[in-house]
Symmetry: none
Subunit: 369 residues, 2 copies
């Protein structure tokens, strides 16, 4: 059993209690590629088997650790500048959902890179977004690439579609993002592209894939020659992540299963039975912000677990909590717009410490260095 660092927290109360639980939850770190998969899996999923309130709470505490406090001395952009790549003649809602979710989780600026036609529509949904009508331009890759130095994370796929020209441009954008070491969340038809060309993200440990059931099977078939659609989900997700060289994989479902090829977590936060389109965009947009925050905080804030694993857990828990809150108000009529309205209260409920909730301005000092 490997030794674990003490869990650093900025939340005073509850940290000690949560700390003990975190060791219980996440102490299953595995020796990379060492033991056979079956042996590993027998030890890897205390959360999967336990699914207790205590374990969920401990994992949520790790998310809290990476959420940056708000401080009066900070400047625009420091809490995150997120880019969403998607939006085409058919799909305009998805990139909007992802980008506005990033803002409401706490990013300072949210960009969308869409096709020309889609851009005006996406802009019209909200004046908060910066929408670049470039994705079908002959210079799309360069047009997006010049913005990358000003972005902290990229969400690729919401509303992308499967047009060959667009997918070729997205391939170039992914290569450019990898060259810069940017965290990249890939969803929807971004995953279709990855299933066609797994080498695109093979071994890139700052990538997070967020497949639903169908997308997961397609990926597993492409990478392992087996859709992995039966049996133990945690085992399947761990296998796919390993096969992709420890890319983080989030399999969305009744419960969300997350693995970086070393650990697997199950998020069983209560959600709703409503499955309207767009919920995955809320998840991917939120995850863009949380991935940036978690990588910035580093593994010392996540008790040695992968920051992207913790970020993904946070985004899953948040999305499910939004679904639950929206469903309580709107029932079967719930749409993703209703869920997005719940991001603020849900985030606050799950992740805010008293410092963040108290007027929004933490004491300055070291926060501002």
């Amino acid at each position: 059993m490997p030794a674990f660092p003490a869990m650093p927290t900025r939340a005073g109360a509850g940290a000690a209690v949560a700390g003990a639980a975190v060791v219980a939850v996440l102490s299953a770190t595995l020796v990379l590629y060492g033991p056979p998969l079956d042996a590993v899996l027998n030890r890897a999923f205390p959360l999967h088997t336990a699914r207790s309130v205590t374990d969920m709470e401990a994992a949520l505490q790790l998310v809290r650790n990476v959420v940056p406090p708000l401080a009066a001395c900070k400047h625009k952009g420091q809490a995150g500048r997120i880019g969403v790549v998607g939006g085409c003649p058919e799909y305009t809602g998805a990139p909007y959902f992802a980008a506005i979710s990033a803002l409401k989780v706490g990013a300072d600026l949210s960009h969308v890179f869409s096709t020309q036609d889609a851009a005006a529509v996406i802009k019209s949904y909200s004046p908060e977004l910066i929408v670049h009508p470039v994705l079908d331009s002959p210079s799309a890759v360069q047009d997006v690439e010049k913005w990358l130095p000003r972005l902290h994370a990229l969400v690729v796929g919401p509303g992308l579609g499967r047009d060959d020209v667009l997918l070729e441009n997205v391939k170039g954008i992914l290569e450019a993002s990898k060259a810069r070491g940017m965290p990249v969340v890939i969803d929807a038809d971004g995953l279709w592209l990855v299933a066609q060309q797994p080498a695109l993200i093979q071994g890139y440990r700052k990538a997070v894939l967020t497949p639903n059931h169908v997308e997961f099977s397609r990926l597993a078939e492409a990478v392992l020659g087996d859709p992995l659609d039966g049996g133990d989900r945690s085992r399947a997700v761990l296998r796919l992540s390993r096969a992709l060289g420890n890319v983080t994989v989030v399999q969305k479902g009744e419960q969300d299963v997350i693995s970086d090829g070393e650990q697997a977590l199950t998020c069983s936060q209560e959600g709703s039975g409503r499955r309207c389109g767009g919920q995955g965009d809320l998840l991917s947009g939120s995850l863009g912000v949380l991935a940036h925050w978690a990588l910035l905080a580093g593994p010392e804030k996540t008790s040695g677990s992968s920051p992207l694993l913790v970020a993904a857990f946070g985004a899953c828990a948040l999305t499910r909590q939004c679904a639950r809150q929206a469903f309580q108000k709107h029932g079967r009529a719930t749409t993703t717009t209703d869920m997005i309205r719940e991001i603020g209260p849900a985030f606050s409920r799950l992740f805010e410490t008293s410092a963040g909730a108290d007027g929004g301005v933490a004491p300055t000092g070291e926060l501002c260095l």
Copy 2:
């Protein structure tokens, strides 16, 4: 110590108390360019050093003095017709935020001059705005110029971008506005233009620049060969303002520092730690209206201080109060749209006298002359 005129007020109650404090706050009017900067600075910042509730209240009282009472006899347009120059293929939210903020502060009409593509999108955000799709037209300068006689103030820069053709057009628009003696608030990429060509506004005392940290450094580097990014912020802002020939400079930050090269004020109204994009547009749009009102009221209403200094203080205080109120409701999920919803209540709380708050219509008579 120069003599000060008695502070004229239209608010009966509280005026006497506030009057004494105003003298304490603003009695540091300096002989123009007279004493060396250091000697001046030692006397110039009672507010900067004090930052007391009393001093803030005294400065807010000066803003109240310039807010025109509403009266049943007034006609459409008399409370202000504001123009915003900005909006391009990438940016459409910023000019909307500025223009709608001007309306919500109390302007009667709010115009936007944007590029053709951006105009339809900006219109879609709100039927309240008049949006002219002219900024990328070959006749852009003339197209805007013919509207200038019908406008009271111009806000230049929100969502402008850095396209050379647009910047050249904006240069022409600025020249035309100066020729008419119009107050001009310059923000965002309007400041980028000024940093390239400081002569554009050099010595134009009806200009107000509203740089954030990065924009301020760029301007200071261009004008003084020194980014002035360390040490005493009040001194830095005063220096830049002086070097520009007493153009009013508002350096936004943890506290907002304002100078017209003669005085410096610090606005420490409580805001929030949220730094989402668009807050600066709320400030510039509000400032467009307040600048018009303050110049109309004249220095006899501002205890001898520069009307634009007082207007800028008012816009800063209002923006921060909106941020605070929105944050109390929405926490980290706060966006600029949430802040704009707070303009009415925040303005009322900070600036409305009982006459203005009581049904909105003051007694007629001299108000209608």
